[in-house]
């Protein structure tokens, strides 16, 4: 019997689920090894019996928590799919702003009609067994993670910094082009796609496990930057983590 997998989403743009659909363009055989029992975006059938749950999106209102906990109870393995689920991602940008102000700005005097609370990653609510980083996730990495999970292996997510990958591609460093880049502290694995296309890394894949080990990175030293400078710039995807760090200090 093929292992059953299901897809779920909370607050997100659904770009990671669409990337899953796209991964079928080159890996149709995926359907031979797993049975998809729930994928609201692509199918009507809804099976409630599954081994692996892939969950996209941040948790951004209290009433989402019960649904996520139910998924957690049913699934043997729960995987955070993409930066919203893994980090809080762009949804957490607003966490650094007064909540009342944010609500009134968007809904005016009707703000009370709509339920919300500060956005958070899945791991703030339930135990997460694995994550696939990125905004959006990388297609090939998704396939690799599925293979690893099916084989009972640890998903092969790199934990060295982006700069390593970027230099391998022989890109001209963004700092030498007058730009900025979070490459020295960001987890590799996307092929340094942003610098390759002329833009600085925004840290969507999250930090490497110990960013301070990169304090001596030649890019940082050469440009007179510190790891703290990097962390302070990590606000597009890392506001939730920035606030956690600040609360600890």
């Amino acid at each position: 019997m093929k292992p059953k997998v299901a897809f779920f989403d909370f607050t997100s743009c659904e770009g990671c689920q669409l990337t899953v659909v796209d991964s079928l363009q080159t890996h149709v055989d995926l359907l031979d090894v797993v049975e998809i029992v729930q994928f609201r975006e692509a199918m009507t059938e809804k099976g409630e019996d599954y081994l692996v749950a892939f969950v996209e999106g941040s948790i951004s209102r209290e009433s989402d928590e019960a649904r996520l906990k139910e998924i957690r109870e049913r699934a043997a393995v729960l995987v955070a799919l993409g930066a919203c689920a893994h980090l809080g991602g762009v949804n957490a940008i607003r966490n650094a702003m007064p909540l009342e102000d944010v609500r009134r700005y968007v809904y005016g005097d009707k703000a009370d009609w709509y339920e919300t609370y500060p956005a958070r990653p899945l791991s703030a609510v339930v135990k997460v067994d694995a994550f696939i980083p990125g905004c959006p996730i990388d297609r090939e990495e998704f396939i690799e993670v599925v293979k690893a999970l099916l084989a009972g292996r640890k998903p092969p997510i790199p934990d060295f910094p982006m700069c390593v990958e970027c230099k391998r591609k022989e890109n001209v460093c963004m700092y030498d082009r007058g730009g900025q880049c979070l490459g020295p502290v960001t987890r590799a694995g996307c092929g340094a796609i942003c610098p390759t296309y002329g833009d600085g890394c925004e840290g969507c894949r999250g930090l490497i496990p110990d960013p301070n080990s990169e304090a001596m990175s030649d890019v940082l030293v050469k440009n007179g930057l510190t790891v703290d400078d990097m962390l302070a710039r990590w606000s597009m995807f890392g506001t939730y983590q920035q606030m956690e760090l600040a609360a600890k200090k």
Binding site: D9, F10, T11, S12, C13, E14, G15, C16, Q17, L18, T19, V21, D22, L24, Q25, T26, V28, L31, I36, F39, R40, E41, A42, M43, T44, E45, K46, S60, R61, D64, G89, V90, N91, I93, R94, M97, D101, V102, R103, Y105, V106, Y107, G108, K110, W113, Y114, T116, C135, P136, I193, C194, T196, Y197, G198, D199, E202, M236
Partner: protein, 429 residues
């Protein structure tokens, strides 16, 4: 004529979460609406205080499927606010990228979300068994669309190289030529797509409404233009609020819109109704083949209009590549911040219809205020009105059939509910 009580929780095969509610007692419709239960997203609030260069990167994350569209509307709003004119090359590259997204989204909708309904299966997965060549065609077309976007901006979701005033990366002539070859080959797939669309049993249901789309005199408009309606309305993009008139409702976290009537429709069918005369001859022929004539008032045929647009986009993409290859693609530096802020609106026709972004930027280059109005939000009132007109016509049918007709109606609009939940109505002060 009995009681009908339908609640479709989390309509499937649409983006985002919505519920359909239908209640009828003794043959009389009491209640009927599409509830939006998606979480509010607050994008506009999140832009405030951030550098103008980040707006398109943040707002593309409103929607994974219209990422290029949001980025483009965002860039146009920013450029209009700052008085920056994109170069002719930038305009061409943006249009080409836009066609890639239109292909990707329409193929997804036609083949993977709507065709299963019409062929009586629950999803694209059983379709692999009964119509494998159609599924392979869809995957092939989606791959072409994705590769096109990747050549121009790094990836489709979320584009990297699109920037205020230009691009940070440029395709090579060889890459463009390779794409051209694949687009020419895609003509055969387009013919097959039209053939497939012709065999689908489109539900018959007509209701007059107002159709709203951007219009340009020299092309089938996707980026910029004049807001034009089938009731004779014409507005500059800056005056978009006169069309949208957003209001909040308790059953949805998305605001509803109405112009002169109780509601209006945006999307492929609206574009077709407003701009039919600007379609490529091959697309016009496809429309004729499908029996689609302006002004078409059957919302289910929005999907057929998407098929017509697919044909148009393939042809126009070939033409744009020819122009780019003819003039050559040169790296162009991005314009510097002009030192002074301002306010501006930007608009484009994303797959689901007309989209507006409107920003106010301070003299320090940081965003002060933002407003985004998304197509699905504009369609919500029209979907509700269609449901109210449709249900009494089919009330004597079995409940399952009513449910299916309603779900198909909602899906025909290709709604992107996750996008439509972050409206606001700020007055800039």
């Amino acid at each position: 004529m009995g009681n009908v009580n339908i609640e479709v929780h989390h309509v499937t095969r649409v983006e985002g979460h919505g519920n359909i509610v239908v209640n009828a007692k003794n043959g009389v419709l009491e209640e009927c609406r599409l509830d939006i239960v998606e979480t509010p997203r607050f994008f506009e609030a999140m832009l405030r205080g951030r550098p103008y260069t980040q707006s398109s990167h943040i707002t593309s994350r409103i929607c994974g499927i219209c990422a290029v569209g949001h980025a483009t509307a965002s860039l146009r709003a920013t450029e209009n606010a700052l008085g920056i004119e994109p170069s002719a090359q930038t305009v061409l590259l943006r249009k080409l990228n836009f066609h890639g997204e239109m292909l990707d989204s329409h193929v997804l909708h036609v083949y993977m979300l709507v065709a299963p309904d019409m062929l009586g299966v629950g999803s694209v997965i059983p379709l692999v068994q009964i119509a494998p060549e159609a599924v392979l065609r869809a995957l092939r077309l989606k791959k072409l669309a994705g590769d096109l976007c990747a050549v121009i901006a790094g990836r489709h979701t979320h584009p990297i190289a699109m920037a205020v005033g230009g691009f940070t990366h440029f395709p090579t002539i060889a890459e463009l030529k390779a794409l051209r070859g694949r687009l020419v080959d895609a003509r055969a797939d387009m013919d097959e797509t039209v053939k497939l669309a012709k065999t689908l049993p489109w539900p018959q249901f007509n209701r007059e409404t107002e159709y709203v789309a951007l219009r340009k005199e020299d092309e089938y408009a996707f980026i910029d233009g004049t807001i034009t309606t089938t009731d004779g309305g014409k507005y500059a993009i800056n005056d978009y609020r006169q069309v949208t008139n957003e209001r909040m409702v308790t059953h949805a976290t998305a605001k509803h819109c109405a112009h002169k009537r109780e509601s209006y429709m945006v999307g492929a069918l609206a574009r077709f109704n407003v701009n039919h005369d600007k379609l490529h001859p091959r697309a016009k022929a496809a429309a004729e083949e499908l029996g689609l004539k302006p002004i078409c008032t059957n919302p289910y045929l929005n999907t057929a209009a998407q098929v017509v647009e697919l044909v148009h986009c393939v042809e126009d993409a070939i033409n744009i590549i020819d122009e780019l290859v003819g003039r050559g693609v040169k790296p162009e530096p991005l314009p510097a911040f002009p030192g002074k802020g301002g306010e501006g609106a930007g608009s484009c026709e994303v797959p689901r219809g007309i989209l507006f972004h409107n920003y106010q930027i301070g003299d320090d280059g940081n965003v002060i205020g933002a407003n985004c109005i998304i197509p699905t939000g504009q369609n919500l009132a029209n979907i509700d009105a269609d449901m109210r007109a449709l249900v009494p016509q089919i009330l004597d049918r079995p409940q399952d059939e009513i449910r299916q007709m309603m779900e198909m109606l909602v899906r025909a609009y290709d709604p992107c509910i996750s996008c439509s939940v972050h409206f606001l109505d700020v007055r800039f002060v």
